[in-house]
């Protein structure tokens, strides 16, 4: 499995080729082919790696590859003296990351293929840019899930955030799209702040950033059942990161707006993969989280509240993609609920099944939008069943899967979560069940409004002559349904030839991925059939090693062979909790078992056959109940939107207040605008004022001081220095007034002076000679 680094590298290569060459030179078909080829290759490598992983014994299913050194060794202070920050470019394949790479490459490949048809009407360079970003996203996502330490994961984490920003803002000429991109990026930044602080604290506490080492070290620490310890703080900070990335309360606001991106992007990034990175990250740190029960409760509560909150908003939205966006937020809430109640594998299982059916639903909605020439408002759809048979059939499968109807995939994963939350906390379970009903309701509302009833969309040429000129031709009107006031994120959409000819089934490149995903949405659940239904719950056993520390897993085998001396040593090393349950000198196996049972959730402690049977009965009962709940949701939606649509309007009128609150998404965006955003803006303006007055004032003051001092300096120069020089000149000039009179220029004057001179000298000579002088 030395080759697992190829998995992220292949899409990275595709991004490089498409980005450097493709945007300039490739045709639409070539750039699509390059992107798809790299993804298919990555999928092939992933399948191979996964197959090899399955071939290993369950306890040995972890493989680390160090590709290159990154940070060699930086001495840094840690809790236990000076440590050394060493980070390699290391990848780790274990059950959890194995599952994730299959999801990312599998669904990624399908969505790439789908995109070749969906983006066919885009300008040539735009298509290459799109595929470059999409491949780059897959690269970073695979780095994220394969990284074997926090820092490599963080690289992937930031990279997918960047690609998300780029792809949401793909139609960057549109203000709403670029705003949505910024919103997503900035909101994620808040989460990343928590994540990076968590990483700092991990290093400070453990002196390493390697997942396995941290896991094992944390596994040996005390469970912080009372109060908040360092593990709780780490988990809380990491969870802040997960909240940002996975769109949980209070940072979920970016995800619905992210629907401004092209629909395949929404399917891949904002439903199937990137937004689940937070769930993955919590799962990756399962050992830490299970040592911090307080934080686990917070995770569960945040998760279930988000699930309920987002589902309730989804009830009344009319934009088909927004319904799905809120549904995604809601399902992510489910996953966090699962993580929070300690059902890590159930959360990861739901992550996988959700990836299938939500990608299916998004791609189906993309197909519908494609068919409607860019229309996203469900009020302008209806009756599309006969125009889009394949899309309809696959959407029904996806909807049934998300609603939790057996035996589709969503049923198994959702019921596992519901069952585990019932065991952990009845209140959380109750909220989750209400959410399940809402989910079934809004999904069938979506299905009904789109595919059933009468066609409510614009007329097209050849259908009805009257009003045909009113029916917006999507190409002549900026390719969009802007005339209807709908969100025209699908701008530029169509066939590149003439007018819109009415709803029509999408090309094969779009329907085949839909069918493949539909198959996935049906069968993906079969790997997790619970024991109550005589399944093996294969996936839970498969994933379990990723969620536990190594020593704990290995203990039952090793302790039987070790002497009592070393056993007591390990017992003290793994913490004092064992001592609370067993007296000193107890059998090694019992001790190890008790450590294990405390570490895992209480309900996983060994049970008697009777207890198991009652458990199975309870599970079956809960299953039946949740199916009933889903059926009620479906029935109500059917009644309200298919058989007697007028009731829905009446209800909306009757509960106008509630309807308005829900339609406006609980005014959360407005609340954020009024508090955080305007607060930040006011702070910014305040700082600007400080900048302008104090900082600029200081700079300007310095300037003024210089100007004034230089003026004085100049004055001195002019008066004192120049004055001295001039004075010398003046003195010389004044002196010359007398002497220049001598120079008459008359030859005879000079001759006369010479004569007198000679006369004088001769006279002196003669007198001296005569001795009279």
């Amino acid at each position: 499995m030395q080759y697992i680094w190829l998995i992220p590298l292949l899409p990275g290569l595709g991004a490089l080729v498409n980005g450097l060459v493709g945007i300039r030179a490739f045709s639409r078909r070539t750039s699509g082919a390059v992107a798809c080829a790299t993804m298919i290759a990555a999928l092939g490598v992933s399948l191979l790696a996964f197959w090899e992983l399955l071939g290993l014994p369950a306890d040995a299913r972890a493989y680390d590859v160090t590709l290159a050194s990154w940070i060699p060794a930086i001495p840094l202070q840690t809790q236990s003296g000076m440590g050394s920050l060493q980070v390699p470019w290391g990848f780790r394949l274990d059950p959890l990351s194995g599952l994730m790479i299959l999801v990312v490459t599998g669904i990624g490949t399908l969505i790439h293929i789908y995109s070749t048809a969906y983006m066919a009407a885009e300008p040539r360079g735009g298509v290459a840019r799109f595929f470059c970003y999409l491949n780059l996203f897959c690269f970073f996502m695979l780095v994220l899930v394969l990284g074997n330490n926090y820092l490599v994961m963080f690289v992937g984490w930031e990279g997918v955030g960047l690609c998300s920003y780029l792809l949401i803002g793909y139609w960057y000429q549109k203000k709403s799209a670029s705003d949505a991109g910024k919103k997503a990026f900035i909101t994620n930044r808040i989460g990343d702040w928590g994540f990076i602080l968590g990483i700092f604290l991990v290093f400070y506490t453990f002196g390493t950033l390697d997942f396995r080492a941290v896991q094992n070290a944390a596994g040996a620490m005390r469970v912080e059942s009372a109060g908040i310890g360092v593990l709780s703080i780490i988990c809380l900070l990491l969870f802040v990161g997960a909240v940002g990335k996975s769109a949980q309360i209070p940072l979920y606001v970016w995800l619905p707006d992210a629907m401004e991106g092209p629909t395949p992007v929404s399917a891949l990034i904002h439903a199937a993969t990137m937004v689940t990175a937070g769930v993955y990250m919590v799962g990756r740190n399962a050992v830490l989280f299970s040592h911090a029960p307080t934080v686990m409760l917070i995770v569960a509560v945040v998760g279930v509240l988000t699930a309920l909150f987002a589902a309730s908003i989804g009830l009344v939205q009319y934009d088909i993609k927004r319904v799905l966006a809120y549904s995604t937020v809601s399902q992510l809430g489910y996953m966090f609920t699962a993580m929070g109640v300690g059902a890590f594998s159930a959360g990861a299982f739901h992550l996988m099944t959700h990836a299938f059916f939500k990608a299916l639903l998004f791609l189906g909605s993309g197909s519908v939008i494609h068919a409607m020439g860019g229309e996203q408002d469900m009020r302008r759809m209806g009756g599309l069943k006969k125009y889009l048979p394949v899309t309809y059939a696959t959407m029904v499968i996806g909807t049934l899967a998300i609603a939790g109807i057996p035996p589709l995939s969503g049923f198994f994963s959702k019921d596992e979560i519901l069952f585990r939350s019932f065991e952990a906390n009845k209140a959380i379970w109750a909220l989750a069940v209400v959410t399940a009903m809402m989910t079934a309701f809004y999904m069938f509302r979506l299905l009904s409004m789109t595919f059933f009833g009468a066609y409510r969309g614009p007329a097209w040429e050849g259908a009805h002559r009257v009003g045909a000129h009113l029916a917006a031709d999507p190409h002549d009107h900026g390719h969009a349904a802007a005339a209807h006031g709908a969100q025209d994120s699908q701008a530029g959409h169509g066939h590149g030839h003439g007018a819109w000819h009415g709803p029509h089934e999408s090309p094969n490149a779009m329907t085949y991925p839909l069918m493949a995903l539909a198959v996935g949405a049906i069968v993906a659940g079969f790997v997790g059939i619970p024991t109550a239904l005589y399944g093996g719950n294969t996936i839970e056993h498969f994933l379990e090693p990723s969620f536990t520390a190594e020593e704990v897993r290995l203990k039952p085998d090793t302790t039987t062979e070790t002497t009592t001396g070393t056993t007591t040593e390990t017992a003290t090393a793994t913490g004092t909790l064992a001592a609370t349950e067993t007296t000193t000198g107890a059998a090694a196996v019992t001790e190890a078992e008790s450590v294990r049972s405390v570490r895992l959730q209480p309900d996983q402690a060994p049970e008697t056959p009777e207890a198991e049977e009652s458990h199975a009965l309870l599970e079956l009962g809960l299953m039946g109940f949740s199916v009933l709940i889903a059926a009620i949701g479906i029935g109500v939606a059917w009644k309200l939107y298919v058989t007697s649509p007028e009731i829905a309007d009446q209800l909306a009128e009757r509960f106008a207040g509630a309807h308005r609150v829900l339609s406006n998404k609980y005014y959360v965006d407005e609340l954020y605008d009024a508090t955080v955003i305007s607060g930040t803006m006011a702070g910014g303006r305040g700082l600007w004022a400080v900048d302008r007055n104090v900082i600029d004032g200081a700079v300007n003051g310095t300037g003024w001081v210089t100007i004034i001092s230089s003026w004085f300096s100049g004055l001195t120069d002019r008066t004192v220095v120049d004055g001295l020089v001039n004075l010398v000149g003046r003195v010389v000039e004044a002196g010359s007034v007398v002497f220049r009179r001598l120079q008459t220029g008359l030859v005879q004057n000079y001759a006369l002076v010479m004569l007198f001179g000679i006369f004088a000298f001769v006279s002196i000579y003669l007198f001296m000679r005569a001795g009279t002088l």
Binding site: Q743, T744, G745, L746, V747, Q748, A751, L752, L755
Partner: protein
């Protein structure tokens, strides 16, 4: 008998006449001629003493003086000619450019 005293008196008289001529006359030609007088006053002295002491050096000197006076006259007349062409005069008072 003509003694050196006679020669010296003659030469002194010529010299004084020459000096006065240089000092008081305005015409450059006249001044030139007065300078010739001065030179010849010297020549008379040289020749007189050469004869008195029976020594040829004085005569050689006198011939040198004559030769130099000839050269000087040539150069001087050239200057005067050039000056005249410039100023249309040979008045020494007009030659006063070399002053402040």
């Amino acid at each position: 008998m003509i003694t050196p005293t006679h020669y010296m008196l003659l030469s002194a008289a010529l010299f004084i006449i020459g000096v006065i001529g240089v000092m008081v006359r305005r015409n450059i030609i006249i001044i030139f001629m007065s300078i010739e007088l001065i030179l010849n006053a010297v020549n008379i002295n040289l020749v007189a003493f050469s004869r008195e002491w029976q020594h040829a050096v004085g005569q050689v000197f006198a011939i040198f003086v004559v030769a130099v006076a000839a050269a000087e006259a040539a150069v001087g007349l050239g200057i005067i000619l050039a000056f005249y062409r410039n100023k249309e005069t040979v008045n020494i008072d007009e030659m006063n450019l070399m002053k402040w």
